[in-house]
């Protein structure tokens, strides 16, 4: 954090001193100040159109990634500039998470497990070296390393782990929602300095993977207490400050603008690559075109969420590369199962066969992976052979439409999508064209995201068709419970965007509940495969495609590992010399 105290330039300070001593009149003082400032400013303006000289001790943007004048030579760590499409609203470990918060929190805090070592995500030790669970999957013991230290030198103990989880559960904010169904505060205990016991409210066989996915940052309780204001458990302070033990610390925090992080050279877990970063800057560049320009101009080393239109431009520029990978961000066309005509199974199958999936892939320039089944390939126990598989087949579409009361068409369906998202609009236009062949009109209804979430609350406000993207992580249970478990929407407060097909099937509900408590991997696999089969047969919504995660990188960036996320793990990266 930068300190801020006024300090005028020496020339102006000297003039001010003379004025205060009475050696200059007010008019002469102002005139001279203006002259000094104006002359210098004019010189600076004339020089400003040339790139600024490299700052001491850093590296400078220049023409292309090879122009890192002033960059350290040899294997000396350098600062990486990362262009992100999103701001970091908070880094309070108990508040909320999204891709930007997650990417930065991983660097500032340690968790029980690492989850970013590859794809599909392996569970790797971090603070937790090993664990064991009871046969009924209700009690779990985690054994911690005794080597970890917080940035202020305090050891990372079981007490800190317990406090971090309990704080999150107490806050009841977004971050707690993943673990709150399974854990409450009283279920977490420190058995000794390096052992934590968690007793679940009900069995959950995939609990360690859930904890790995949840990525609870472990916070230093002593630092939190030092910064507590009016019993807020440090919430105000932790929003923009850290109390962690991760490989980086905060150097500058400029909300809405940029965030600067500095490496902890003697990080307790070491550095996994052949080199390491001296630090990194999370620079916010919201426009995709601007991120591409900044990358190719050498202003940044990595740009995330690159547009598919820019892939070839970047890949064909010497010194740059593109990493395009498919993760778990799955696009669905949810169909309202509680409202006619999409409540009719044959009508849903008609739409599933009428949809031209390949046309969509073409529209997206081939940068999409069609889904096979209701969950993406990266989710454990995904069945690549699940049937039926819906692909564009107008004859089959006609067969199913003929079994509905709307075989002659003459009806209208609303298709809701996010305002301004071209790929969602294109999907709707394909539906409009294909369903038009059956005398069914599709109304294109763009909405801003809050309106879409609100519409998805209840079946009577839910549209016939809505384009939704879901990422429920590599936890099979999450995918089914959050989308097709009727209790996730059939409740007083309604559902959320994932449940917008308002699907109700007692058999599916029972299987989801059974899956939650299943410990045996074989049993888990069988249930997940049954669920996939049922959901493809019932087709509550169209699983359409998985979005790619696209990064543009300078060739200098080394050590990149794809782990299913939009962003990168800075801990593994280093910059090669120009």
């Amino acid at each position: 954090m930068s300190s801020r105290s006024p300090r005028p330039s020496p020339e102006i300070q000297a003039l001010l001193d003379r004025y205060l001593r009475g050696e200059l009149s007010r008019r002469d003082f102002l005139r001279t100040v203006l002259a000094v400032g104006g002359l210098s400013a004019a010189q600076a303006i004339l020089a400003a159109c040339a790139p600024a000289p490299p700052p001491s001790g850093g590296s400078q943007a220049g023409p292309g990634p090879t122009a890192q004048a002033g960059a350290p030579t040899g294997s000396e760590p350098q600062v990486l500039i990362y262009a992100a499409g999103q701001d970091i609203p908070t880094i309070d470990p108990s508040d909320r998470t999204d891709y930007s918060i997650g990417a930065v929190s991983r660097q500032l805090y340690d968790r029980l497990f690492r989850f970013e070592g590859g794809w599909p995500q392996p569970i790797e030790p971090c603070l937790c070296e090993r664990y064991e669970g009871s046969d009924d999957a209700t009690e779990w013991i985690f054994y911690l390393t005794d080597r970890a230290v917080f940035h202020n030198g305090d050891p990372v103990t079981a007490e800190a782990v317990v406090y971090s989880y309990q704080r999150t559960l107490r806050f009841q904010k977004q971050r707690s929602s993943v673990i709150a169904p399974f854990l409450d505060e009283s279920g977490i205990q420190a058995l000794d300095d390096t052992t934590v016991r968690m007793v679940l409210k009900s069995p959950f066989g995939d609990f360690p993977r859930l904890l790995a996915y949840h990525e609870q940052p472990i916070v230093n309780p002593r630092q939190v207490k030092e910064h507590e204001q009016a019993g807020d458990e440090g919430a105000a302070w932790l929003r923009e400050n850290e109390a962690g033990s991760g490989p980086f610390v905060i150097k500058e925090w400029e909300p809405g603008n940029r965030y600067v992080f500095e490496a902890v050279p003697d990080y307790w877990q070491g550095w996994p690559g052949k080199g390491r970063l001296a630090g990194f800057v999370w620079r916010i560049i919201r426009e995709t075109a601007d991120r591409r320009i900044a990358l190719l101009a050498g202003e940044v080393d990595i740009a995330d969420t690159i547009s598919t239109d820019d892939i070839d431009i970047i890949a064909n520029t010497p010194g740059y590369r593109v990493e395009e990978n498919f993760g778990l961000l799955a696009g669905y066309v949810k169909m309202n199962n509680q409202k006619e005509p999409t409540s009719d199974l044959h009508f849903r199958k008609f739409i599933a066969y009428a949809m031209d999936y390949e046309a969509l892939v073409d529209v997206l320039g081939g940068h999409a992976q069609l889904m096979v089944g209701p969950i993406p390939e990266g989710v454990p126990y995904h069945d690549p052979d699940v049937q039926p598989l819906y692909r564009h087949d107008l004859e089959k579409a006609r067969e199913h439409l003929d079994q509905t009361p709307w075989k002659d068409g003459g009806i209208e369906l609303d298709y809701v999508y996010v305002t301004g998202l071209d790929f969602e609009e294109q999907l709707g236009l394909i539906l409009l064209e294909q369903l038009g062949k059956f005398n069914i009109k599709v109304n294109m209804v763009p909405k801003v995201w809050p309106d879409m979430v609100a519409a998805c609350g209840f079946p009577d406000t839910g549209p016939h068709l809505i384009n939704i993207f879901v990422d429920a992580g590599p936890i099979p249970y999450n995918w089914f419970a959050e989308q097709w478990y009727s209790k996730s929407w059939d409740r007083e407060t309604g559902g959320s965007f994932q449940t917008c097909d308002f699907y109700r099937n007692p058999q599916v509900d029972t299987l989801v509940e059974t899956l939650r408590g299943a410990v045996d991997p074989g049993e888990q696999e069988q249930i997940v495969q049954d669920l996939q089969r049922i959901l493809m047969e019932e087709i509550p919504g169209l699983p359409v495609y998985v979005m790619p995660n696209i990064l543009g990188l300078s060739e200098r960036v080394q050590g990149y590992v794809y782990y299913g996320d939009i962003s990168v793990d800075f801990w593994r990266l280093w910059l090669a010399d120009a």
Binding site: S40, A52, A61, P89, Q174, P255, I285, L296
Partner: protein, 337 residues
Amino acid sequence: MHLRYYILRRLLLIVPVLVGLSLVTFTVARLVPGDPVKLAAGPRASPEEIQRLREAFGLDQPLPVQYLQYMRGVLQGDLGRSMMNGRPVTTDLRRYFPATLELVLVSMVLAVVLGIPGAVVAAVYRDRWPDQLSRVLALGSISMPVFWLAIMLQLLFAQYLRVLPVSGRFDARVPYPETITGMLILDTLLRGDWTSFRIALRHLLLPAVCQSLLALALTTRFLRSDILDVLQRDFVRMARANGIPERIILFKYVLKNALIATVSMLGFLFGYSLGGSVLIETVFDWPGIGLYAMNSALTLDFQPIMGITLFVGLLFTLVNLATDLLYGLLDPRIRYG
């Protein structure tokens, strides 16, 4: 004495204006569809969590109660907290406003410094090529979508020529300068930190040029027209008959008389721009009020929306008052009362 009463009356009138503004914004913000609590709570939130968050932000209360609670806070200088980032709105306004003020001030300086001489030249060379050129440039500036122009300038200067940065306020590879006012150009000047000044100026150049175009075009055309009008007046003929040099007539007598309408327009544009230029700030990732307002609106973050509206409304009325007072300096015949 009249001037004091005038200022006092205008200041008192700001109160009902802001109350009306707050009522309208509050009502509109609450009536639009969408549930910010569900957004903030996240997709996995349980009904209990959603309800708890609703209560924490007082959104479970009837609308009149919510409004009164909000206004009570406003009177104590508390504009509430953002539901999305948890920060007090006043903190965010203090953080983002200097960036907007800097952008608007520099763009206004550009508009005045380039616009007034441009208008004089266009008027003096009426219907000749300098006038035609100024007409084409002015119309082009007004009719061209500013975001498109901004992107074109980025492509030219950042991607192809690589002489200016694509966006942002400061070079990411350089430590952020210590600030005094939050306006980097001013702060680096005051500190005599010329390297940082140059970096800040390079970042400011493209957004300021784009931001200045509307004011520049309007200044050039309006002032040209007013200068031509004043040039026809009797006192100008009299001055010429008395042998006063044309340069003095033009700059001392004509320009001063012609500037009144332009000052009024610039005052309006200045106040309006302080609300943040959403397009410019978005394209150039300029962390100002406009970007803050847009992000808050997209997430239906009520408190920042209300806070920004009141703050900008207050600024706008104050700038209008200052503009009205400026008339008196330009034209001593104007009396307040």
